[in-house]
Structure formats: structure tokens, C-alpha cells
Amino acid sequence: MKKKVLAVLLSAAMVLSLAACGSNGGGGDDAASDSGTESSEGGNKGYSFQMIVKSFQSTYWQAAIQGVEQAKAELGVEVEANGPANESDIADQVQMLDDAIEKKPDGIALAACDTKSVVDSLSKALEAGIPVVCFDTGVDEAPEGSVLATVATDNVAAGAVAAENMFPVIEEKVKAATTDAKVRIGEVNQDATALNIQQRGQGFIDKMLELCTGAGKKVAVVGNEFYVNATEGKVDEKEAEVIIEVGVPAQTTVDLASTEAQKIMSKDDTIAIFGSNQTTAEGVITANQTLNKLSTDPEKGIIGAGFDAGTPQKEAITNGQFIGSVTQSPLMMGYEAIVTLTKVADGESVSDIPMDGYWYTKDTMEDDNIAPNLYD
């Protein structure tokens, strides 16, 4: 009997703690619906939208939600946001999307974890007459008419931006490279499951390859076979003067990303390294805590660059470990996605809104077009 009481108490305690955390702002959804009602006195259009993000894992999405909040306040619409626990939980996201469709909202904003698995659900949305706006990541194979607009960063271009900004710093070194004294440029890419990160990584590789080739150097790509096979215009490792090495951690965790970064950075010929999203950029920073090799001066160490923001990365830039990073505009994307949806609901015609990737450095971090996107 005593045990039973204990069991009940224990579970009650757990449930209570659950309820408690539910009430003080667990999940973006609660906050979202609360402020939705508050702002109803503004230009209330009374629309209710569903929003599916990739996850709440990184602070990147926190910024996106901020943008959504802003749009909600201005437009007086309701947005309910949800997302899987992990950017890799494709299955969960598909279910959430279906669930959102079931709720028959006036529109859905979607940041697809995987672009192919959502195709069926998008057809369902089309049948149900629910307009969809994609943000952050476009869905190429979406059925005709289902996705009305895409608010997304051109990831190939964004990756290229990193290469373009990195290259001038290391140009001298690249030019000095020979087949006997090769130089190595590293890239750490998250387990390339989502198309946007793939594109970004590839964008960097292609641009870097182009720039190095432009400088008259032969370039080889080594490391993860996917990228090796996908890159054109490369040469064999032996003949190359410049090597681009791509590391892909087995899972999206900082510890594995840092091991990959470590592997590349501990090689003597490495002159630069790029982490293509928040996790991998942090992996590079973590690896550097041990290696202490990153520097903004190519003579003194390895040139580092990252992607997105987050406290560690921002500090790395301020401290001179990274020369800079590329940021997207998660805040604006979130904002624009809702604005676009509202337009759709109003019956206006909409078109894709390409978002830029901005290169930011220590000096430009405070700029007006940069600062709001540099989330913690």
C-alpha cells in the first residue's frame, strides 16, 4: 500500500512539475497565442496561421519566432508554432504538418526539415485549400500550386559569400601553394540531411574551388564522399596545390563536430576552416579551445569563418578567432513569412522573397541590417 501511495505521489509530482513548466512559457506556442490575443485591438484581420519550424534546438529559430511575434503584433493575426525536438526528426515534422492541415488554418508557414518527405502533405494542403508559404528552406518538388511563396535564403549564394570573404584573406597563401607545399581549406558540415545545409556547403566548396582555380591553382576535394563526388572541376589529391577537406560528423552534436574540426585543424597545412551552420561553427570554436590555432592573420594561424550566430560565435568574432560569419535573416524570414501569409489570406498575389546571406565581421556587427539577426 505504501508503495502505491509513493507511486502516485511520484507521478503526481512529475505531472505537477509538467503543468508548472507548461504554464511558465514552455514552447513557443503558448507565448505565441498569448500575445496574439493581446494585440487583437490593432489592425485585426483575425486570421489564424499554423507555423512549423525545423526545431527549437538552435537560437536561430528563436530569432525567427521573434520575427513572427513582430508580424503578429503588427497584423493582428494568430500564429501557432510547433516543431520537432530535433532537426533530424523528419517523421515528427511530417505528422505536425498533417496535424496543422487538420486544424484548417488560414495558412501554413513551413520550414521543412526534409524537402521530399513533406511533398505528400503539401498535396493534402492543396486539396484542403490551405495556402502554404515556405520559409528558411524551399521545397523544390512541391506540387504545383501548393506552395505560394518561398521566403528563404539562397543557400548556395550564402555559402559562396563565405568563400568570397574568406578568400582575400588567404589569397597570398593560396598563391604560394605548390604540389609539394599544399594548403588545406577545411569545411565542417552538419550531417547533410537538409537540402539547405547541403547547398550551403556545396556553395562554399564550389566558390572556393572557383576562386582558387582562378588564382591558377589545382584544387582537390577530400573527405566526405558525397561532397567529393558532387564537386566538379577538381583534380586528384596528389596533383593538387590546394585541398578542400570536408568533414561531416556522424550526428548533429557539438562534440562530434569538434572532433571533425580538430582533425582538420591539427594538420599543419590547414590555412582556413569554415563551419557551415551554428553547430559546426561552434564545433570549430570548441576545437580551437584546445588547439589555439585560429587567428585573423593568415601568417599566425588558421582563418576561421562560420555561419549563423549564437553567443559563442559572436564572441569568436569579437575575440578575433573568426574573421567573420555569414548570417541569414531568421527574424526577417519569420516576419516576412507571416506577412506573406496574411497577403495570401487577403487575396493578394504573392511571389518568392529571396533573402540574402550577410557577411558580418567584428566591425559590422552593430550595423542596422545585421544586428537584429545576430541572435544569442
Partner: protein, 326 residues
């Protein structure tokens, strides 16, 4: 003898009673979620949608039921399922292996893992929990090495090879449900009406006694793991048919859900006592819970927490019931 007779009746009653409680819980949950979500939970499309996404979980649960019946455990099922889908999917997309062959390959990979796990557990007496841990790592590793750490997207419905997606539903007919129920019936028959099931259950209850009856217990124990592997292979087909994309390095989360479904259904963790119908109901409860929590607008985290608590409650009920009986 009188005492024993009463016990007997009570026991028979209890078996039925458990099942009734489960179904009751199921209906209650359904109604509760329906009421809380303002009726949107009752739609037919909602039900079929839900079903499409949980068949694979059902197959995993069925599979692990056999292993748990022997008193073992297999929590490599999720990653192994991913491994099946990834390796065969990658072969399909990259090497142009025909669709039919890829599907067969999925199942075969599952079988191979079943043989591997079963062999180590039965013939080498490695604790099942260690074997699971090892094969989980191996499955993840093989899948990632094979696919070069890229996710694999199986063909869309619209493509020529897209017919495999009809396994879950075809023109609104819930084909998946029919297959799942059919496989469940086969599993129930195997478990209760054949020599295989008899030996699997008996050895789960008292392996040594069965061995001393001149039964090749190693063989039958391994068989349970092979059945499990086969069902995991089948699960992988239903997974890709529902979601198309699989990515390497993951799959762990489904272990918990599948084992939870199985345990909810009254299969005892100490072996010897298993019920396929219970597993079927259990897995439906778990998925309903999943969907319900989602429909209520809660994030995934809450689902983890609530599922965890509910399984604890279910296991505690099982443990205390067994203690009362002894």
C-alpha cells in the same frame, strides 16, 4: 483444490480484464482528446493520417514482443530499421537496384541483424542488453558509412517507382491497416498456435526446464530475434512509404515507443508472458497519445514526458499484479 480453482478463474478473468481496461483507456483517451481539441480529432482523414504514420511503429512493436517474450530485449530496432531503409534506399537511388529488389533487401537486412543479435544472445550468451547496444552502434555506423552520411529519399508517389507507397494507403483504402492487421494475426497465430511460439514463450518462462526437455532452446531463442529482425525490416518499408526520407545516425527514439507499446499491452518484461493483441492495442494507445498531444498544441517534449510516465504506470501495474499473485 478449491483454492486453486478460484485462482484459475481469477486468472482467466484477469487476462480478459486487462484487455478490457486497455480498450477502455483507448476509448477514453480518444474521447478526451476529441473533446479537448474541439472535435477536430474525430475526422476520418485524421484517423487515416494517423494510421499511415504509425504502421511502422506497430511492426516494430510486434517484433520486439517476440524478443521480450523470451525474456530478452532489443533496443536496436529503431536504428536497425533506419539502416534497412538507408542501405536499400541508397542502393535503389544510387546503384539503380530495382524497387522490388530494394524492398526485399530491406527485409533481408533486418533478418541479418536478427540473426546477428540472436546468435550472440542464444549461442554466445551475451546479455541481450549489450548485444542491443552493440548492434545499435553497428547499424548506425553501417548506414552512415554506406550512404556517406547523406539522407536518402525514396521515390515520391508520382514517380514510376512510387507504387511502394501504396503499402500504407492506396486511393484512400487503408492498405497498411489491412497488412498490419494481417501480420498481427499471423504473429498471434505463430505465438499461440505453433511450436515456434510455444517454445519461445516457454523458454522465456523457464529456459532450463525447456532445455532439459530435449528442446534446442538456442535455436528457438535465436528464432525470436530473427522474427523480430524480419518485422523490423518490414517496418522499414512502412516507414519510407509514409515518410520517404531517412537519415543516418538516428532512429533511437522509436525503440522507446515500440517497447512502450509492447509493455503497455501486457507483455511482461521478465519473459514468458506475451500478447499480440495487447501489443496492437498498446501501440495504438502510444500513437494516439502522440497524436493527441500534438493536436493539443503541445510540443514533442511533452509527449516524451507523458509517454515515459504512462509506461512507468503500466509497468508498475504489471509488477504489482504479479507480486499479488505470488
Amino acid at each position: 483444490m478449491k483454492v486453486e480453482k478460484i485462482k484459475q478463474n481469477a486468472f482467466v478473468k484477469k487476462v480478459g480484464f486487462n484487455r478490457i481496461v486497455l480498450i477502455f483507456v483507448l476509448i477514453l483517451m480518444y474521447l478526451a482528446f476529441g473533446a479537448l481539441t474541439g472535435g477536430s480529432f474525430f475526422g476520418v482523414s485524421r484517423i487515416t493520417n494517423t494510421l499511415n504514420y504509425v504502421y511502422f511503429l506497430g511492426f516494430l512493436s510486434l517484433g520486439v514482443t517476440f524478443v521480450i517474450a523470451t525474456g530478452g530485449i532489443d533496443f536496436s530496432i529503431g536504428p536497425v530499421m533506419y539502416c534497412c531503409a538507408l542501405v536499400s534506399g541508397y542502393s535503389l537511388i544510387t546503384y539503380g537496384v530495382p524497387m522490388t529488389a530494394s524492398l526485399i533487401m530491406s527485409v533481408l537486412i533486418g533478418v541479418v541483424f536478427g540473426v546477428f543479435n540472436g546468435y550472440l544472445v542464444a549461442y554466445w550468451k551475451v546479455p541481450p542488453f549489450i548485444v542491443s547496444m552493440a548492434s545499435m552502434n553497428i547499424a548506425k555506423g553501417i548506414a552512415a558509412v554506406f550512404t556517406k552520411t547523406q539522407s536518402v529519399s525514396w521515390p515520391q508517389s508520382s514517380t514510376a517507382d512510387g507504387w511502394y507507397r501504396n503499402f500504407v494507403s492506396m486511393n484512400g483504402i487503408p492498405v497498411g491497416l489491412i497488412i498490419f492487421l494481417a501480420v498481427s494475426v499471423i504473429c498471434a497465430v505463430v505465438l499461440n498456435k505453433t511450436k515456434w511460439g510455444r517454445y519461445i514463450l516457454c523458454l522465456g518462462s523457464n529456459e532450463e526446464a525447456v532445455r532439459l526437455s530435449g528442446v534446442n532452446v538456442k535455436k528457438w531463442k535465436m528464432l525470436a530475434y530473427i522474427i523480430c529482425g524480419t518485422l523490423v525490416g518490414i517496418a522499414s518499408i512502412f516507414f519510407v512509404a509514409a515518410y520517404t526520407t531517412v537519415q543516418p545516425g538516428y532512429g533511437d527514439q522509436y525503440n522507446n515507443e515500440a517497447i512502450a507499446g509492447c509493455v503497455m499491452g501486457g507483455t511482461s518484461m521478465v519473459g514468458g508472458l506475451a500478447s499480440i493483441s495487447g501489443t496492437v492495442i498498446g501501440v495504438i494507445i502510444i500513437s494516439l497519445l502522440q497524436q493527441g498531444i500534438l493536436a493539443l498544441g503541445f510540443t514533442k517534449e511533452y509527449q516524451y514526458i507523458i509517454t515515459g510516465l504512462i509506461v512507468i504506470a503500466a509497468v508498475y501495474a504489471d509488477v504489482s499484479a504479479r507480486r499479488r499473485k505470488n
